[in-house]
């Protein structure tokens, strides 16, 4: 589904990742962990084509991301649901439109999708907040909204960057449950997180592999978790 083959990424003077190879099989569930600044966000950006590796190859859906023009990158984004670490929204639009944004920009008929949107908003528990503007939302509401927006086009892959970054434990568990549900629907899930408690909790619910970035390398974390 997504494959990194001997990928290296450097910027300015420093090398952030080197010789990273990993393959996310369809339907798999992965955690990506490591200390702050290790390059988790960078690795996810490499996966969805926001950054280009300085060496090696990134493949998604069996296609090399290097040769993509902007139009093809846009199409790639529609096949990958991304929850960004800072969950950016369009502040002038109500929450429902923000969640529906991937539908809107891909030119779907919104009249036909409204039932879909309602169901999804219920799934993340935001039905009552449909008309709120993003700046009015709490951190947890934003995280759930970001997750809903990421999956509304029913992508095959969900990449979530710190999806539980600024919410309490209870909300983390709710979000994790949502991600596990997505995985049970057959979606490939990759979650970047340094929340070890979350990872432990997930391991009891789903077959998850844990990848750790340390010293610019990607390693499979052992059973110590």
């Amino acid at each position: 589904m997504i494959e990194l083959d001997d990928v290296g990424y450097s910027y300015g003077g420093g090398e952030l990742l080197s010789h990273v190879s990993v393959r996310l099989a369809p339907g798999s569930f992965h955690f990506l962990t490591g200390p702050s600044g290790a390059g988790k966000t960078t690795l996810l950006k490499l996966c969805y084509g926001a950054l280009t590796p300085t060496s090696g190859v990134v493949r998604a859906f069996d296609g090399d991301l290097r040769g993509l023009d902007r139009g093809q990158t846009a199409l790639l984004r529609r096949r990958m649901g991304v929850v960004h670490q800072d969950c950016r929204f369009l502040d002038h639009l109500p929450l429902a439109d923000n969640i529906a944004l991937p539908l809107i920009v891909s030119g779907r008929d919104m009249a036909q999708e409204s039932a879909n949107l309602k169901e999804l908003m219920g799934w993340v528990g935001l039905t009552a907040r449909a008309d709120a503007r993003p700046p009015e939302l709490s951190g947890g509401e934003r995280q759930r909204a970001a997750l809903a927006r990421a999956v509304i086009l029913s992508p095959d892959v969900v990449l979530a960057d710190e999806p539980t970054g600024n919410v309490d434990w209870e909300m983390s568990m709710r979000l994790l449950t949502l991600l596990v549900e997505l995985n049970k629907m057959g979606k490939t899930v990759l979650i970047a997180s340094h929340d070890l408690g979350l990872i432990r909790a997930a391991k009891s619910q789903v077959q998850a592999r844990v990848l750790r970035i340390s010293n610019r390398q990607l390693q499979l974390a052992g059973a110590d978790l």
Binding site: A50, R78, V105
Partner: protein, 295 residues
């Protein structure tokens, strides 16, 4: 993309926030420019009409009048015609028949006039060719050989005026072009400001898989619509101003003729369409350039 501008895509338009000052700037700039364009248009149409009218009067023949004792008229006419035919710049010279002269005089003396009973001068119609003839030289020669001849070329003095009117018409059109250019420049600035202010929005749209053409289209539609509305308001105000000018009268000359006549009233209606087209092109270019930079 042109189709979506005309039909509109309300969903897509909403993804771009309703920006404050760039909207007003576009509205104001296109309104002011359209207002000015109405006057430039009125100027060039009026000077064009003037130039055409004067030029057609120029093209009319000059007249040579031969006033002589009755027994000499025929002979002097012969000589005058010969001289005229030899004069370079004269395309055609023709003595008017008694019948034609009677027709010319009919408004004053009524029909059924017997010219033989009156000492009416013989008229010779003189048509110039492109170069024109040397009127002073011709007069000199005529005075020597045809004492009773008077050359009346009163329309010639208007030639410089025709040239002036034609230059005014050209100036009017140049003004319209400059106005269009200035409008394009201002709208480009406004569009760039809006694109810069919305860099975050553009980034979010890209992250959720929006094509560049979709993002550009949302901005282009915004600005095209605003420029169209602004120019529409400007044209209405400009036309009101033109309507308030005094009525054109026959001897009114230039200033009072500065209006629109008949079908030329339709011309200013093109201004909002052109304004919209200018905004469409300017914003489209700005957006494409900007989106390329923001990669």
């Amino acid at each position: 993309m042109l189709r979506t501008v005309l039909i509109g895509d309300t969903q897509a338009d909403r993804v771009v926030p309703p920006s404050g000052f760039t909207a007003q700037l576009t509205l104001f700039a296109s309104g002011a420019m359209a207002f000015l364009a109405v006057f430039a248009l009125a100027l060039s149409l009026a000077s064009g009409r003037l130039a055409d009218r004067w030029a057609s009067e120029l093209a009319r023949s000059a007249t040579l009048r031969i006033t002589a004792p009755e027994d000499q008229v025929a002979a002097q006419t012969e000589v005058a015609l010969r001289i005229l035919r030899q004069t370079p710049g004269v395309a055609r010279a023709r003595a008017l028949s008694k019948q034609e002269q009677a027709t010319l005089l009919a408004p004053w003396f009524g029909p059924g006039l017997d010219l033989d009973a009156l000492p009416v001068p013989q008229l010779i119609e003189v048509k110039e060719d492109e170069q024109g003839y040397d009127a002073a030289g011709l007069r000199l020669r005529l005075s020597a050989e045809v004492p009773g001849a008077v050359l009346d070329d009163h329309t010639r003095w208007r030639k410089p005026l025709v040239d002036a009117a034609n230059s005014l018409r050209r100036l009017g059109w140049i003004s319209i072009l400059l106005i269009g250019g200035a409008m394009a420049a201002m709208i480009t600035l406004a569009a760039n400001a809006a694109l810069a202010a919305n860099a975050q929005v553009i980034e979010v749209l890209r992250l959720v898989g929006a094509h560049d053409s979709y993002i550009a289209g949302a901005f282009v539609r915004r600005f095209t619509l605003r420029a169209f509305i602004g120019a529409g308001i400007g044209v209405v105000l400009g036309l009101a101003g033109v309507l308030l000018l005094p009525e054109a009268s026959d001897e009114g000359g230039f200033l009072t003729g500065l209006g629109f006549h008949g079908f030329s009233w339709l011309w200013p209606l093109l201004i909002p369409l052109l304004g919209g087209a200018v905004a469409f092109a300017a914003t489209g270019l700005a957006a494409r350039r900007r989106l390329k930079e923001l990669s």
